[in-house]
Symmetry: C2
Subunit: 173 residues, 2 copies
């Protein structure tokens, strides 16, 4: 039997971009926001200068890796036909940064498994893990919503919500 | 009725990479190869230092645009849900070059329509135009083989072979 295809998002799933938002926002305004202040808000609302941060050199390259994601992806990579799919095209400078980042933290994956796109509607697979409704809503297969502050508290009946990579593994291994 | 999705390759279909091979090979060895010398051979066999050329800065950025491709893609973009999909991940430096190139020659397309991947098996669509069997052979939809020296003379019964963008338009408009 052929392996099922698993589509894994980068930002907010493998790369902890919120740590970058919190850090840059604090550097700019002098106070570190609490999770309570940003929960349920889209990034742009939660962090006043979010657009400037994501276009800043190093934003993606220096993002910390999400807790337990490396070990989890390693296990999932054995069981599934795994692809990392990132909607990177909006941020042209992010393309080489994201590729370097993947090679640093996920050296056991190959470049054949990476996809940088604008819209994920063109991607086919059996399971998708993502933190954005816009990517999961149109996906015909099984959809796992990775909790991030921007999607917190919103209706998610259509998708299986997880709060950690440990929960992803419980579902998929 | 929703539009059919058309997947268009870059190198050898929109970007005339053979012009780069001929030029760089001539600069290096002093003689310009004829089409007859390279027809039916994979790039690596046809041009001794092909690997060095494709990893050279500017190789993709400075590739000429394929004859009639701009006007053709403009027409097809109205009729189809069009995506440009390039297996760019093998050449990391090519990512920003390819994006700049697309923005220069195809400014009427948006970044939402661009995909850079390693393997095209993850892409879904109804029609694919490509110059490589490895991309067309696994595609479940209609497949159009764009003639390039490396695929010339090979068996192509499975795919519809075209020799120009004019022929593509005859088939798809």
């Amino acid at each position: 039997m052929s392996k099922k295809r698993l589509i894994v998002d980068m930002d907010g799933v493998l790369a902890d971009v919120y740590q970058q938002f919190f850090k840059m926002d604090e550097e700019e305004f002098g106070v570190r926001k609490s999770l309570g202040e940003v929960n349920g808000k889209i990034e742009r609302e939660a962090f006043k200068n979010e657009r400037a941060y994501v276009f800043r050199k190093g934003f993606f390259r220096e993002a910390p890796v999400m807790e337990d994601s490396i070990e989890s992806v390693k296990l999932l990579n054995d069981k599934y036909d795994l692809f990392i799919v990132s909607a990177a095209m909006e941020f042209p400078h992010s393309l080489p940064e994201k590729l370097e980042w993947l090679k640093e933290y996920f050296p056991f994956l190959t470049w054949q498994q990476f996809v940088f796109c604008g819209s994920k509607t063109v991607i086919q697979g059996d399971i998708m893990i993502d933190d954005h409704y816009k990517n999961l809503d149109h996906f015909p297969g099984r959809t796992i919503l990775f909790t991030q502050p921007h999607n917190y508290g919103h209706d998610d009946k259509q998708h299986e919500r997880v709060f950690s990579w440990k929960e992803v593994l419980e579902k998929l291994i």
